[in-house]
């Protein structure tokens, strides 16, 4: 049986305390919510913290309610399953609920949280392997080694952002509340990510995501289309989130965000702007999808041929636009 290496588990009383604990044991401690991403990675020794700071028991991370402005607040420890089956959420943010319902498997969604999903580690099939495998292949930059195995030319990590819900949260202009030892700050979800497979988040390691805030989106439609081999279990090897504000049959605002194609969710700013002021005619949609897909350069570090994944981006965007426009 593959087992965990020893660590201590701390159970703070609140988010600030949690942040303080991680800050205190700088580099030694990690936050854990559902543990569905972290525990397998610990078993494969991709991370080797000596302390885990648990947060999923914190009641303050378990809100799920409408805000006075008409938006919604979702606590970071709300599970993916809870998001997927919440009627209010599905009504106003169908793309988000859809993305949550497509993560991994039903038993995993009963444990995995949306906070953990936002912060899920980037993936690469040279890295998401056991210690023994990585030793046999040669360790890589992201853990224990000094060169990237996928693109060795540059000391850069291209591990892929594989969160299903992050792109939709970004498309819906959600913000995240972060708690540090000293207090809280609220930032756009979009600003949480950067183009670096190792340091993929701009958040401090000790900062706890306490909740997500979704602005009111009455009159908007959203969608998420996911590409994976099987109908379950698999991480996205491509995904497109689309949010459209539609008046009559004209689009007045739009946002397109891609997952599984780079080290961060990719916001297709230019492409989305093409839609504004128009109705959804096939030629335009094809053009927009083309535009969104063009800059994307998948590498050979995820499932299936990267050339095929590249050509699928356009298809994903097209599907997601139509899905949202339905």
């Amino acid at each position: 049986m593959l087992r965990l290496r020893p660590f201590r588990y701390l159970r703070p009383m609140g988010a600030e305390e949690a942040a303080a604990m991680v800050a205190e044991f700088d580099g030694e401690a990690m936050l854990v919510a559902g543990g569905t991403d972290l525990v397998p990675k610990l078993k494969r020794r991709q991370m080797e913290p000596s302390i885990l700071v648990g947060i999923s028991h914190l009641e303050e991370l378990r809100s799920l309610r409408s805000t006075p402005e008409g938006g919604m607040e979702i606590g970071a420890a709300i599970t993916l399953a809870e998001v997927a089956r919440d009627p209010a959420l599905s009504a106003q943010y169908p793309g988000y609920a859809q993305a949550a319902s497509l993560v991994s498997t039903p038993p995993l969604r009963n444990l995995g949280t949306i906070g953990g999903n936002l912060m899920v580690d980037t993936r690469c099939n040279y890295y998401d392997m056991t210690y023994e495998w990585r030793q046999a292949a040669g360790f890589c930059l992201k853990k224990d080694g000094d060169a990237c195995r996928v693109a060795p030319a540059r000391p850069h990590c291209w591990a892929v952002s594989s969160s299903d819900t992050a792109p939709v949260a970004i498309a819906l202009d959600a913000t995240a509340v972060l708690a540090g030892p000293e207090g809280r700050r609220e930032v756009p979800v979009e600003s949480l990510y950067q183009d670096d497979g190792i340091h993929y988040t701009t958040k401090q390691p000790y900062e706890v995501v306490t909740s997500l805030h979704f602005p009111p989106r009455a009159g908007w439609r959203s969608s998420y289309v996911k590409l994976r081999r099987r109908g379950s279990i698999d991480f996205p090897i491509g995904g497109a989130a689309v949010a459209l504000a539609i008046e009559g049959d004209r689009i007045i605002d739009s946002k397109i965000v891609l997952s599984g194609v780079a080290s961060h969710p990719v916001v297709a700013v230019g492409a989305a702007s093409y839609l504004v002021g128009h109705s959804l005619d096939p030629e335009l949609v094809a053009e927009v999808a083309d535009h969104a897909a063009k800059p994307v350069k998948p590498l050979d570090n995820a499932d299936l041929a990267y050339t095929w994944r590249k050509r699928m981006v356009k298809w994903l965007v097209t599907q997601a636009i139509y899905e949202a426009g339905k």
């Binding site: 049986m1 593959l2 087992r3 965990l4 290496r5 020893p6 660590f7 201590r8 588990y9 159970r11 854990v32 559902g34 543990g35 569905t36 525990v39 397998p40 078993k43 494969r44 885990l52 648990g54 999923s56 028991h57 399953a81 991994s104 498997t105 039903p106 038993p107 995993l108 009963n110 444990l111 109908g231 379950s232 279990i233």
Partner: protein, 159 residues
């Protein structure tokens, strides 16, 4: 002993307090500390579903659960599905009858997941059953007989 903790939770209706390693998963605690070997394992990485147990009625993966996460919770394993005595749960009856059991290794996880499904949705369709079981791999049956078993049990339990 700094890495040992007392885990307390209910297992199959009985409250348990066990001194365990803080880094042992529920899978190890059930199988090795409590001798409940009906819970199986096929990957220990959250990928196969064989280790599924019910935590407060919901299917979760015991190979990923740390002791603190199940503190005070009610856990049901396959040993607790039938209740006491010789009677089988209608799902177990149906699995036996329809041939949903071949090697039987995925069976505990399938049964518990199906139990949770029927509690939420007493008469699921084929597609809903497939969705609910999609985190539990089976290499023997092609899922066909398992689906028939869940349908059969649902019909009987409804009646």
């Amino acid at each position: 002993m700094s890495d040992s903790v007392i885990a307390s939770f209910d297992v199959n209706g009985r409250s348990r307090e066990v001194l365990v390693k803080s880094y042992h998963t529920l899978l190890e605690i059930l199988r090795e500390d409590l001798g409940l070997t009906g819970t199986k394992h096929g990957c220990e990485l959250g990928e196969c579903g064989a280790c599924t147990v019910l935590v407060d009625g919901l299917p979760q993966l015991s190979c990923l659960l740390l002791p603190h996460q199940v503190e005070g919770k009610e856990i049901t394993t396959i040993e607790g599905l039938a209740g006491s005595g010789d009677e089988l749960h209608p799902l177990q009856e149906a699995f036996v009858e329809t041939g949903a059991v071949q090697c039987g290794y995925c069976t505990p996880s399938m049964l518990l997941t199906a139990k949770a499904l029927l509690e939420e949705n007493p008469s699921p369709g084929r597609q809903e059953i497939a969705e609910a079981l999609s985190g539990n791999l089976c290499r023997c049956t092609g899922y066909e007989a398992i689906t028939r078993a869940v349908e059969l049990a649902a019909t009987r339990m409804e009646a």
